[in-house]
Symmetry: D2
Subunit: 433 residues, 4 copies
């Protein structure tokens, strides 16, 4: 995580201040329930709620000595709360605080990511509707295939981000559990009702079985899901990069007046945002394997997962938040060139209609294999001519064709509206809900 | 995928025979609906349903020439169906068949994986109930922490596989869509009602927007989920390996009479199944990154995903199926040694009660920090003595302790039942569903 | 590994026949040295050399019972050799055979990969020399930058594969060690001279310290290196895919007469080989993480690495061998279109000379920042005109330019030879050695 | 990268201050050579050398506007150098500075990593020599196999880190190239002698062919190598974690007086350093896949690699540096318990001698298969007795044994020195060089 690629909204979640604030809330809620149960004096709970505080610098100082972060935190809190603090954390183990708080942080992060995805969805929806009927070539293998519309292209990505959102909602559910069950998770030293109370107050669920720690398959699922979202970001970024290629130039990232594309070449306008997003996708996905490797802790728990969760996993979230916001802006401001799309569409002399020609021949009674060969031989001529010939003129000269198809049939073949007649249907289906 | 690590149930799904059978069904259903719509003669649909067949060897032969698998398949089918076959595949593109069929294969595979997971769950449930009350040491960091029961250990894994099952059900949903929408997915040459009909007959959903292909974020999500399941397999395998260590030996994989552990050392009984499962987890997870990299296809589609989907992704499923079945058997037949568990539990001279001692001192009015130090100094003595001393005898000699706690209090501290009182509650919670 | 993507040369290395042949040779060499040392009767060594044989089916049968592959193998060998076979494998452990033989297989595979890379290098060199002076546009960010030559493009990839070859040579060295050191590698039951003898006969080195197994960091290094080679394959494949895009079309994969690009669209000629290679790169790289995870075996060894080494790691080699051969053929037969390259180069109205214009202004005394702005304003006009305007005509109308640069200077700016003057120098540098 | 897991030595390399210092040196060296060649006034080179400076805050400010870091840097430098600065960077492209400087940073980092590895080697060597003859059990599959020495164990890791060092030296070579070849690497605007001069002054090599950027397979190789080093760190960390398990306890991480192992359980002494190192290994390896994905840039270059290189790749180096230093300290201060090692060795009642028994029987004329069965039946008895029986006593009661072996033979079998006789030979071999 570096400032260049982070937004404070996400970075802040993982900062010490926010973390310790959540720790304090977890300890306070637990103590309040203990007081309710008569296990500790009510005065202790009141003291913690009212005087409870911490000092990050002081915690660091203590931790340098005791090498245990929760003990350091509790010591700092005790310095604010005084004598009554001795009841705090009673019967709890560090992981009760750490993991429950981590769940709070991850749900905060998940909410932000979901919101970010919705920004991307919203930008895509807007541009989809704008360009619902903007004809452009559809490409398979990078080769012109058949016409489509630019709105449909965008709607496809809209649908991907809708799925991304739904996956993140499920991923959030995965990590929305807390545990307050004491050492090795047996509730030997703490009553289960305390866990239930804290969970309810935090708006989370209790973990069915925590073996001191919340099982890491939950976090693995969360970060694996984030990796899938990253790939959808990459997918759209790569589309933009292709569209902006000099030879294609159907769309361009917005380029501000003062921006410089190249220190050497003044004419350059580069798709640097989408290239950056391609890189961000790699960064986000870098969290997936470590998260999967974090699952197999030894026996009830070991702490090998911790350094990964302090560094690379938050980084994946910070990158995802940054990337999604950058992507939303990119789509919002994308320069789209319908005229160039039309130019490109017509570059292949009507080859895009080749399938329609073949189908028309088939329907006129020619065996599919023969129809294929008839159209292919003209198609290859057109292709080699590089714009000099058109498919229609060649078919009109081919007796195998003209013996079967009249002018009206040919007019019908070379008609773009055939490709757009179902576009509204598809887009409506995708934008629904 | 090698025979050694595959079961025919899963391997068969990805064999040519099954694949082409599904292709034929997709083509047949589509043709039947076309006939209903009056687009093709009813006789063609009847001919395909009745005479439709294929020959794998012949397909391979044709494909070697035309270098296109769907064309090769259709040619083979035509050789069975004759003249009427020219209506088959009309207005469709290869991906309509390939991707819709891939969805069928993946749902078949998903069903098998879900069934496999349920076998593991069932074995875990049975052994959990058997050893609900079998005391053993809970370990954090590989170090004895506090008592737990062996049933609770297993129940934790049961809960993980219950989550695994639910994730696979969601993952199956992800890949349960088909597309029959023609080149670049515009329905230019095929009516959407055909897609809807085929989907319904196959028990699947239609894809909102397919750009010729079903978007690969769905498959990425599926294989990412499988990767998480792999990590849960690894987690349990590592637990077994630890338990079987010579110094621990609380459980052992079943060892048949004729089995040989080592060509050199006749006494060896090695946890080779769980070691194998550890490796299988790596194999399954090897599909995750390629699946994530498969998402960003160029424009409407390219075919870079295809070789990955032909090899490494089915392999991940074959390994998962194999591993889950082996794991179910392993758990079913696991040799469990309660006596050794008890021996190990008592190896540390009562140190496992240290927290209870500390809490008792705190409740007797000593500041937590002081209580910690008082118990720690005795604990360290006991630890160093390696079994010669017990915590109880040292605490009984410590005036800081005896001034606060009487014999009854000490009896209460050194009582295993404190650790088991909530075990039933937790296990019931986890096994419920 | 599936037949479609494998060559028998590589696949054969990992087949049982080859594996057991090597096992037999390792056992035979070891026994010969033991006989030399007088540890076993010479007749035993002679018997093994002369009658030593095995039967794959029989081995499988025995293994199904004893669940130990080396014991099964030795039993099969004994059935051929008879009584004297009791001296075979004496003092050795299974890993001595397995790991030493694995080293032989991996060096065989490495030799093949090195040979494959040299085929790619050779194809690249040939096409480089052919197109040394073929002008084409160099692109950064997918945007036209400055002219280069197609030969230089290819030479860059040549250099990458030269590095790939050197890396594979180093990687082969990494895995060229054997061990015959007995259980846990102490030579307690076998003399070190036997290991030395077998190593020498096999043309390999002895492992400094094997803890029964050869340390897996060697294999990790080998497969990590293969992953880097995969990325170089991907890099070249992506270049070809870009060049073949309809809008670019500077090169095309060879397309045979009978090939069909699309079942639906007869005009399609798709870069399916380079797309396949992109996928193969993902398959090869899928071996990297498992190989890295295989390193941390427990204590002297566990067997978690084994299933990975039986499946996914050989698959990576089979894919690499297949991909490199396909790539060599692709380059060898690549259709290259210099005319289109020239057309594309000129598409931007001379913008490719913008830097030269800027430098000329700077040398004529204008501050760099000003020169940049002067050129950029014309460059942007040209860019927006989409071919209607040229940079030269606009600069000729700009007083800030004409006040500094005369016609000769402008002629000098708009001269392609400036971009090619050092091409031979660079290509010679890269092709050298 | 977070402070908790970073050392300033490594973190500093990637800070802006160091980065811009290197940029300035690259620009200055290039300008000096240009002055030598008479391309720019000597005064410009002198001015840059003498007045050349930059201001990080100012650069950030400018970059926020122009969105181009090299232009921002050059503008800041110009504010120090004045008028003469217009010659700076002439004919160069941003990548010439960025990539050449990145090479300098990476070689600085590589040197530090190599130094770190040597610290680990040195600690391992010292402890190896100390415990050369300390008997302990060698374990395969976590099961007691045969005796070895603790020194040999450590020497195995020493050998792994020696390989790690050699790999890092090679990896450093990989990334020790610079390029100053202008846009798309044609030397169109800059003389190759400038590149050669700068390279020589920086102690680096020139890149054979840079396509504006240094090819990213070099960086992929570098980070893949670092991933292998990470796995060797993990391997040693896992060994320590195993040794410190309560049931094993043959070694322990040093535990300071003030350290607290658990907030709840005062007796806990956990191997937190080696657990942390296990996590660090995952963090370091997280850089491998992104580095491999960074190779396939589009055409001459795109900038997708850049964000990865700004974040996750430096993080991998920071983690590696931190981890290696922590590991060196861990080994240096490791508490080693030879008595416990001996206790554990004897726990299996002499089973560790089973192979020797079997070999002795074979040498006394019994068929290997029979010898195996004879020893195994006693071995299984001993194993089940859990310490109550010894292998020797059972063999002494077995007529199949006593008919072949006398007391002296049995004495010879049950003799530890057989396992240690070659230890010095092996350790010397590994420590040599």
């Amino acid at each position: 995580m570096i400032d260049r690629y982070s937004r404070p909204q996400m970075a802040g979640i993982f900062e010490d201040e926010n973390k310790y604030k959540i720790w304090l809330e977890v300890e306070t809620l637990a103590l309040e329930k203990m007081a309710d149960l008569g296990i500790v004096p009510k005065s202790a709970a009141i003291a913690l709620r009212e005087k409870g505080n911490f000092d990050v610098a002081r915690i660091n100082e203590i931790e340098a000595e005791v090498k245990h972060d929760v003990i350091a935190f509790l010591t700092s809190v005790a310095e604010y709360v005084g004598e009554e603090s001795r009841y705090v954390h009673q019967g709890m183990t560090s992981s009760d605080v750490l993991d429950s708080s981590f769940a709070v942080m991850l749900t905060q992060a998940a909410d932000l990511i979901i919101e970010d995805i919705e920004k991307v969805m919203s930008a895509l929806k807007k541009r989809t509707l704008e360009h619902k009927d903007t004809l452009c070539i559809g490409r398979s293998h990078g080769i012109h295939a058949e016409p489509t519309t630019f709105g449909l292209k965008l709607a496809g990505h809209y649908a991907a981000f809708k799925r991304a959102r739904d996956r993140m909602i499920a991923a959030k559910e995965e990590i929305s559990t807390i545990t307050i069950s004491g050492a090795v998770g047996t509730f030997a030293t703490i009553d289960p009702s305390i866990e239930a109370y804290v969970a309810e107050k935090l708006g989370l669920r209790v973990e069915d079985i925590a073996t001191q720690v919340i099982p890491r398959d939950r976090h693995a699922m969360f970060f694996a899901t984030l990796g899938v979202v990253a790939s959808s970001i990459e997918n759209l970024a790569i589309e933009i990069r292709h569209l902006q290629r000099t030879e294609v130039r159907e769309a361009e990232e917005f380029f501000s007046e003062k921006q410089k594309g190249s220190s050497a070449m003044p004419h350059k306008r580069n798709p640097i945002s989408s290239e950056n997003l391609t890189g961000q996708a790699r960064i986000i996905r870098a969290g997936v394997i470590p998260a999967l490797e974090n699952v197999a802790l030894w026996h009830e728990r070991d702490i090998s997962h911790s350094s990964v969760e302090r560094t690379i996993l938050p980084d994946a979230l910070v990158s995802a938040d940054y990337a999604l916001n950058r992507l939303a802006g990119l789509i919002e401001n994308l320069l789209i060139y319908p005229d160039t799309m039309m130019d490109n569409l017509e570059k292949t002399g009507g080859l895009v209609f080749s399938q329609r020609a073949m189908l028309a021949l088939t329907q006129a009674g020619i065996m599919r294999e023969d129809a294929y060969r008839i159209v292919q031989r003209s198609a290859m001529e057109v292709w080699k001519s590089k714009g000099a010939l058109t498919l229609r003129e060649l078919l009109e000269k081919d007796e195998d064709v003209t013996s079967k198809l009249d002018k009206a049939s040919l007019d019908n073949i070379f008609d773009y509206s055939a490709y757009t007649k179902n576009i509204s249907y598809i887009i409506d289906r995708a934008l629904a809900d």
